[in-house]
């Protein structure tokens, strides 16, 4: 099915809108960077607390306490990690320089569900989720409008 000129123009504007949603700068909640310390308890196969929220630029210290076996904590994209022996506290300090939502996960084999021992650290707002949600709504609206640009044919 060849697309009409009107449809091509529509697609162009949808792609343009998608590009804007993807890369447009979002308002930044400016907070003075501070020192944040979290005591995170690790036990098979969960972290507690499992969701940490900090502001961009904060210096984050995670005190990892293992309650049973040896556990690790690796922060995705930051590539930094720490390992805690049972009953011991290990410290990991890093600057939350990248905004967004990142998984942290156990990087020391700790039992059957080890690959799924996961927590989340949110640096500022989860901008990628907002952008992805915007793209989703745009996609749904675009497809609904696109339908109206197709000449009507009778259903079978």
């Amino acid at each position: 099915m060849a697309l009409s000129k009107q449809q091509w123009i529509f697609i162009f504007f949808v792609v343009l809108a998608g590009a804007v949603i993807t890369v447009a700068p979002l308002p930044v909640y400016a907070a003075t960077p501070t020192q944040r310390t979290f005591r995170v308890e690790a036990s098979q196969f969960a972290y507690s607390p499992a969701i940490l929220k900090v502001n961009p630029g904060d210096t984050v210290t995670i005190e990892l306490v293992s309650k049973d076996v040896v556990h690790g904590l690796y922060v995705d994209e930051y590539g930094t990690s720490v390992t805690a022996d049972p009953g011991q506290t290990a410290r990991l300090t890093f600057t939350a320089s990248k905004p967004g939502s990142f998984r942290f996960r156990c990087n020391v084999t700790c039992g059957a569900m080890h690959p799924f021992m996961i927590g989340k650290i949110q640096v500022g707002s989860n901008t990628w989720l907002w952008r992805a949600s915007g793209l989703t709504v745009l996609a749904a609206l675009a497809i609904l409008i696109f339908q109206n640009l197709i000449p009507k044919t009778r259903g079978t």
């Binding site: 569900m113 996961i118 996609a139 497809i143």
Partner: protein, 446 residues
């Protein structure tokens, strides 16, 4: 808009010849049996055991990221599980078929000629998946059970009854094969109508009758064709072709079957639940899913079943009903519901791709370490046994998942619109349903 692959003599002879397929089968069967053995005799540490790593990370990655989206039932054409049973049934491995059927050769019961059993087996595996995915011995028991069940069914029933009606994997591969850009079809249906012996279905000196119990002349979608290539070998009129075609060509013809509709809900719902339970930060959910037999597990199982068989279909039914009211359609819900469920195929597939990207890229390191030390016995065959774990391409993961999910929504919404035109019912509420489902999946993964 189709291009025939089998018009190239090299491709055709490669597919018709039994040896290339047999060699792949041989390697797959060896790997499969080794995976079973490694579960029983290797380390109990899942991410160090060949069975877990190669089945649930390597094979799963190939299956869901490559094989199903691009080759449909391509995996079924080389799957090792039905082989020994089929060889027993035929009394031959590569020899030309014998005249007499071996063993009982019973017809599969008419009442069970649907994919409800596959829906049940997949749901059963999914309910226990936290244990199956992580404990090598349990993986081996499940694989061995499938293996011996396939053998047993080949002895009792004709053709590949296990693949067609029981295999928990085959059910969803069939569903998503409709989206693949590859198909096996006849070139000219008139030739099939004039063919008296139907060797493609009944077998001949050149090959076996369709192991999938399909008459190729009647094929209109990929769901039940296992791409075994027997009909390519038996057709005396050279009337079978493998085509490259547009993605999702089968979805132009909405399904009218409730079993297929529920397969779509099972897959969509399971992907969402896995994304929350396995990849989310909620430890209590993981523990509930893992503690099989405990009160918390029963709670998890109840929510799992209620979500898949209750909430999702009921909301979807509501969406279809609203669409029906909007267009004042006289089509019954019994027909409209499965027809619109067809449109969930691309979304479900993309949900699984997005889920698997995260799971596979995070755990791919284990493939290399397991290659060197498949049984966890301290070997270091290729020098990669002690490779430090690290996730791959984690910076690309979120953009990739977003692309896949938004693309899936576009694909599914467009399919819903086409279904809507066919059944003369507004697709807007269904598109709203799929948009909300996509937003939920984004929330779970990002």
């Amino acid at each position: 808009m189709r291009s025939e692959l089998t018009r190239f003599p090299f491709v055709k002879s490669l597919l018709k010849n039994r040896w290339p397929q047999f060699l792949v089968w041989f390697v797959m069967l060896a790997g499969f049996l080794f995976a079973i053995l490694s579960g029983f005799f290797g380390t109990p540490v899942g991410n160090r055991n060949f069975g877990i790593v190669f089945v649930w990370i390597a094979w799963w990655a190939v299956l869901i990221l490559v094989a199903v989206p691009f080759f449909g039932r391509g995996w079924c054409s080389v799957c090792p599980i039905p082989l020994p049973g089929e060889w027993l049934q035929r009394g031959a491995i590569l020899n030309p078929p014998g005249k007499k059927p071996h063993w009982l050769n019973l017809r599969w019961p008419n009442k069970l000629r649907n994919i409800w059993m596959q829906n049940m087996t997949f749901t059963l595996v999914a309910l226990f998946s936290s244990v199956i995915l992580t404990i090598p011995k349990v993986t081996s028991i499940v694989l061995a059970a499938m293996f011996f069940l396939a053998i047993g069914m080949s002895i009792v029933f004709e053709r590949r009854a296990f693949c067609r009606y029981i295999c928990p994997v085959g059910g969803f591969i069939g569903l998503y094969a409709q989206a693949a850009p590859v198909e096996l079809r006849v070139k000219d249906k008139q030739i099939c109508l004039g063919c008296k012996d139907k060797p493609c279905y009944n077998g001949s000196e050149a090959g076996y009758g369709c192991p999938w119990d399909v008459f190729p002349g009647g094929l209109t979608k990929n769901t039940y064709c296992g791409l075994c290539m027997e009909c390519l070998r038996t057709c005396p009129y050279d009337n079978i072709a493998i085509h490259i075609r547009p993605f999702a060509a089968d979805l132009e013809k909405p399904s009218g079957r409730m079993d297929e509709a529920f397969k779509a809900f099972i897959m969509l719902g399971a992907a969402m639940i896995y994304a929350g339970v396995l990849l989310g930060p909620w430890g209590k959910l993981k523990l509930a899913a893992y503690s099989v037999g405990s009160l918390s597990w029963f709670g998890y199982a109840a929510v799992f079943l209620a979500f898949i068989f209750g909430l999702l279909p009921v909301l979807f039914l509501g969406a279809v009903s609203i669409g029906k009211v909007l267009t004042k359609s006289s089509l019954t819900l019994k027909k409209a519901f499965p027809a619109f469920a067809t449109s969930l195929v691309p979304l479900g597939l993309m949900f699984w791709v997005a889920f698997s990207l995260s799971f596979v890229l995070t755990n791919a390191t284990y493939i290399f370490s397991s290659l060197s030390d498949p049984l966890g016995w301290g070997w270091n065959l290729f020098g990669t046994a002690d490779l430090t774990w690290q996730p791959y391409f984690s910076a690309l993961l979120l953009p990739l998942q977003t692309l896949v999910l938004v693309g899936g929504l576009l694909w599914t919404a467009r399919t819903a619109q086409k279904v809507g035109v066919k059944v003369n019912i507004s697709a807007v509420p269904v598109i709203l349903f799929t948009t909300i489902a996509t937003l939920m999946m984004l929330g779970l993964l990002l």
